[in-house]
């Protein structure tokens, strides 16, 4: 293929789009809506997963020492805990700090008769992998001087189960929506080609090779995909701004953020649109090329 042919084929693609305006509009809006729905689902699923991850990250193990344990003993235990795998952070709380905190929370406690500090030394453990919480807690229970270990086992198990469900729903939802979007988009492209099947046949009859027919139509598919994806991104930006304004007013949703950078979202949508547009055209044209 020489340069002037390549130029001609690109020109053909854009003339085709211009002169089939209504079909082009139909294809582009179909692509925009399909990718918009897919993108919205990805954003929500991403946000939900992040929200749950942040909740899991807040889980701590609380260790209470025996009443007579000294600060020295407590520090030794804390050092041992820090050496356990998947422990992120260990903090020793002194009796005095805890007592001060407790008094702040319960200002009447002294007048109620509790004058002396009854609290033991305590250690807060943060873990890197929430699924290891129980086994870490069990190890700590066996250490000398440790009285009680609270690991919030049941709450954690529940939220971990929820996380699995949310992740499963997200992944399968994305897969289903992706397949549906591909199907809808290639169907829309098939329709535009069906409207032009006569044209394709004539091209073949005057001696056009399959590639000569194909290239402008594939370029059209790519352009439709890119424009549709861009429109989907614009819709998501507008919709996202509205939703986050609403969500900010709901206190329990404060941590529900979807911070996928807008540029990454735009690029992946456009890449997806281009790939679906090109393959959709390529696959659909085959049917019409084989007629003669």
């Amino acid at each position: 293929m020489n340069l002037s042919s390549a130029e001609f084929l690109i020109q053909e693609a854009f003339t085709g789009i211009r002169r089939n305006g209504l079909m082009a509009f139909a294809s582009i809006s179909t692509i925009a809506l399909s990718l918009g729905i897919l993108g919205a689902f990805v954003l929500v699923a991403f946000g939900a997963n992040q929200f749950i991850a942040s909740q899991i990250g807040k889980f701590e193990i609380a260790v209470y020492m025996n009443e007579n344990a000294t600060e020295q003993q407590t520090r030794e235990v804390a050092d041992k805990i820090a050496k356990i795998k998947d422990v992120a952070n260990v903090a020793v709380l002194s009796k005095e700090e805890e007592w001060a905190q407790f008094k702040r929370a319960n200002p009447n406690i002294e007048s109620a008769g509790l004058q002396n500090n009854p609290l033991p030394y305590a250690i807060d453990i943060k873990v890197t992998d929430a699924s290891r919480t129980t086994s870490i807690a069990n190890k700590v229970r066996l250490m000398a001087g440790v009285h009680t270990v609270r690991d919030g086992r049941e709450e954690l198990a529940r939220i971990m189960a929820l996380a699995r469900v949310v992740r499963g729903v997200s992944v399968s939802g994305v897969v289903v929506l992706l397949i549906t979007a591909t199907f809808i988009i290639s169907n829309a492209i098939k329709l535009t080609l069906y409207a032009r099947r006569r044209e394709i046949r004539i091209m073949k009859l005057v001696g056009a090779t399959n590639w000569f027919v194909r290239v402008p139509l594939i370029i059209e598919g790519i352009v439709f995909g890119a424009i549709g994806a861009f429109a989907a991104w614009a819709l998501l930006r507008l919709g996202g701004a509205y939703v986050s304004q609403t969500v900010e007013r709901l206190p329990f949703m404060a941590q529900f953020t979807c911070d996928i950078p807008s540029s990454i979202l735009a690029l992946s949508l456009i890449a997806l649109g281009v790939v679906i547009g090109a393959t959709g055209s390529f696959v659909s044209i085959r049917r019409f090329l084989n007629d003669t």
Binding site: S5, T15, G16, E199, M203, L205, V206, G207, A208, N210
Partner: protein, 229 residues
């Protein structure tokens, strides 16, 4: 130029369109293919540009075996032929100039040649002033001439026309025939399928008559109906 040998054609629905047809058309000839509707005229022409294949027999066009041809070679066969279709088959989204240009672009012609060749072809069919018109803006006669111009524009050695006067009034039909005659005089082999008896009688060219898929008459300087002498 064209050589068919013991050709049988059967459609998928079991209809046998051509039966044991053998036929030769020499280079530079002008021949009519006549016969009633369903006699196999269009089928015969379609074999020549490989829109369909026979179930038996050989078809040679321009020295090439069209039946055994690879699908990827078919476009190159068609580029050396000029085909005028019964329903014109102009690209509806392109104007006259672009329709002709497309046929030339397909064969890889240079823009400079394209301009010159389209100019020549449009002048020959008398449509120079209509080059901006889209097919739906042209009359039947104009579309027919446009289809002929497109068939001519790549200087084919063989021009195949299926009912080129099918939808036209007698005067316009005669003009079209004169045009095809001129193309023949310039050196192209011309094969015309028609059931326009007036035209055939007046032109006094070779007449190949088909009936129910059989070749029943092949007569030089013939008439539409065989005249017993």
């Amino acid at each position: 130029m064209i050589s068919l040998n013991e050709v049988f054609v059967e459609y998928d629905n079991g209809v046998r369109a051509l039966k044991d047809l053998s036929l030769t058309v020499e280079k530079g000839e002008f021949a009519f293919v006549v016969g009633s509707t369903g006699s196999g005229k269009s089928t015969l022409l379609r074999l020549l540009y490989r829109e369909m294949s026979p179930c038996q027999g050989t078809v040679i066009v321009n020295g090439e075996d069209v039946v055994d041809m690879k699908p990827s070679d078919v476009p190159f066969l068609r580029r050396r032929l000029g085909i005028v279709f019964q329903d014109f088959k102009l690209l509806p989204q392109k104007n006259l100039w672009e329709n002709l240009a497309f046929a030339l672009r397909v064969i890889g012609a240079q823009p400079k040649d394209i301009r010159r060749r389209i100019g020549d072809a449009l002048a020959l069919v008398g449509l120079t002033h209509r080059c901006d018109a889209f097919p739906n803006q042209m009359s039947g006669g104009e579309q027919q001439r446009a289809a002929i111009a497109r068939a001519l524009v790549n200087n084919p050695t063989l021009l195949i026309a299926d009912e080129p006067t099918g939808n036209l009034d007698p005067d316009t039909s005669w003009e079209i025939m004169q045009l095809l005659d001129q193309i023949n005089i310039r050196g192209a082999t011309v094969l015309v399928a028609t059931h326009d008896s007036q035209i055939v009688d007046r032109m006094k060219k070779r007449v190949i008559q088909l009936d129910a898929g059989h070749l029943i008459r092949d007569e030089h300087k013939g008439a539409y109906q065989h005249i017993e002498s």
